[in-house]
């Protein structure tokens, strides 16, 4: 199969870029011919496609500006769209409004969400980055103009049915590597080997629930005074993590490492006893650091979100399975992953402070539970989140997408406009013609 692959690639530092690089290498190894089209070379695509049509065009979309350039192609050349985030509203609004396309944003919002008052568009136009954006994903055009849309998570509110691809990320960490990482990373940050260490990774933003984690940490150290929290990631401009640590009087219990290069990140995660992978609000993404923690055999705590409803998890209020009894209480004597074993602890967002304290306190004290969750989490990762699992799903879905016809769809006018509209608009008032 010959593929055109629209996506950012490294050195762009996003999870989607890394994922695309891994996938392209894997598919080339399986005999596929793939032409990558990042932003800087996308203009080559139309004539290459005209000269020799691709069997399938694959578009990787996330809720960030790195994907702005893909919209024009995805709407004009239908293919397989893979959504790494279920919600694209933040990126879409920022793109249109940055280009001063206010009328286009209003039109697109009204068309994408006809059940919402059009006045809601004024939120973004006024510069307010509303949390309501998460309820209005602005993805209708991609769903209707594509041959097939796939996601890495369940999408109960998606405009049309879509396919699911297991997201592969991370590398299996052996017990030997974990032992070495534990010794090396802890030595570097002056953390004793027998200290119960919680870790939180990635950009240090409030969405990672850092204030709530610090509040829970206060409760943990009353029972486990030696416990520590390691925050590894870049500081955010809009959140003063050091001030938050001071406010909770936790300076002696928290280590802030700053940005950790990607090559060292897995070892930092593996050095911890528990990985905190909370998220709210969310664009429906799957945390890359959570997957790395699973692959490293580190027990995890996540937020119980609808797009993660398929993950067997424990409710720390009862230590029973979350949801509709989809799995039994974790059995610490069992080492094999049964079809219903819990692989993580999930926090109900409406009881977050209470549930998080219960979860962190129990995991700080219960080494058997940590070990069992680490084992079952690692087995879950092998089954659901390895690169092989992702490639297998991609091959199935790409075959399905390639066999489908292009959809005929009427999009708002601005989505299919000419490429030189802006140029003409600039020159016309001066009576000038385009030099091209």
């Amino acid at each position: 199969m010959r593929l055109a692959w629209f996506s950012p690639f490294p050195p762009v530092r996003t999870g989607v870029a890394d994922c695309s690089a891994e996938l392209v290498a894997a598919f080339r190894g399986r005999g596929y011919t793939i032409d990558p089209f990042p932003a800087e070379s996308a203009h080559d695509f139309p004539w290459r496609h005209r000269q020799r049509p691709y069997d399938l065009i694959v578009y990787q979309f996330g809720n960030s500006s790195h994907h702005d350039y893909e919209w024009a192609y995805a709407l004009r050349y239908p293919g397989l769209v893979v959504l790494h985030d279920i919600c694209l509203h933040h990126a879409r609004a920022a793109f249109l409004l940055r280009e001063k396309r206010v009328a286009d944003y209003r039109a697109e919002f009204a068309w994408s969400h006809p059940d919402v008052t059009p006045d809601a568009a004024e939120l973004a136009i006024a510069g307010m980055d509303s949390r309501l954006f998460y309820d209005w994903p602005m993805t209708r055009a991609l769903f209707e103009a594509s041959r097939l849309v796939a996601t890495h998570q369940s999408t109960p509110n998606s405009p049309t049915p879509n396919s699911q691809i297991r997201l592969g990320h991370g590398e299996l960490v052996s017990p030997e590597r974990r032992r070495d990482a534990r010794a090396g990373v802890r030595a570097r940050h002056a953390i004793a080997g027998d200290t119960v260490l919680f870790g939180l990774f990635g950009g240090l933003t409030p969405e990672k629930r850092i204030p709530q984690v610090l509040g829970a940490m206060r409760a943990v150290i009353r029972h486990t005074p030696s416990a520590r929290l390691m925050l590894s990631g870049s500081a955010a401009a809009h959140f003063d993590v050091h001030a938050a640590i001071e406010a909770h009087q936790l300076r002696a219990h928290v280590v802030v490492t700053g940005y950790v290069p990607d090559a060292e990140l897995t070892d930092h995660i593996a050095a911890c006893d528990v990985s905190l992978n909370l998220r709210w609000p969310t664009a429906g993404e799957i945390s890359g650091t959570w997957l790395r923690a699973l692959a490293a055999g580190v027990p995890t705590i996540i937020t119980d979100l609808s797009h993660l409803s398929g993950v067997p998890s424990l409710d720390p209020r009862t230590w029973q399975p979350n949801g509709d009894a989809r799995c039994p209480t974790v059995d610490v004597r069992t080492s094999d992953l049964g079809p219903r074993s819990s692989v993580t602890v999930a926090i109900d967002i409406v009881d977050e402070d209470h549930s998080l304290r219960l979860a962190m306190k129990r995991l700080a004290l219960d080494a058997d539970l940590r070990a069992e969750l680490g084992r079952s989490g690692q087995q879950w990762w092998q089954r659901e989140h390895s690169l092989d699992a992702m490639v297998e799903d991609y091959e199935r879905i790409m075959r399905e997408a390639a066999a489908r016809p292009d959809p005929g769809v009427q999009l708002p006018a601005h989505m299919r406009g000419d490429g030189d509209t802006v140029l003409h608009a600039l020159l016309d008032p001066f009576g000038l013609e385009s030099p091209l």
């Binding site: 203009h43 139309p46 004539w47 709407l75 000419d418 030099p435 091209l436």
Partner: protein, 65 residues
């Protein structure tokens, strides 16, 4: 003759930029063309020769989105 077209070797007998676009089935209104690092104006496509070793870049406009 062989030219370099958007970074790749390309064999053609097109004598001018306009002929090259025609061979490639490209609408000249939708592209910008650069020949040996100089932008070619649209009205000059018919008079601009394509010669062996030329480096031609064709940039497509894709509007909308």
């Amino acid at each position: 003759m062989t030219i370099t077209l958007n970074g790749d070797p390309y064999d053609t007998d097109a004598a001018t930029v306009a002929a090259l676009l025609e061979r490639l089935d490209i609408d000249p209104r939708r592209v910008a063309v650069e020949r040996n690092f100089v932008v070619v104006k649209r009205e000059a496509y018919g008079a601009t020769p394509v010669e062996t070793g030329d480096q031609i870049e064709i940039v497509n406009f894709v509007g909308g989105g």
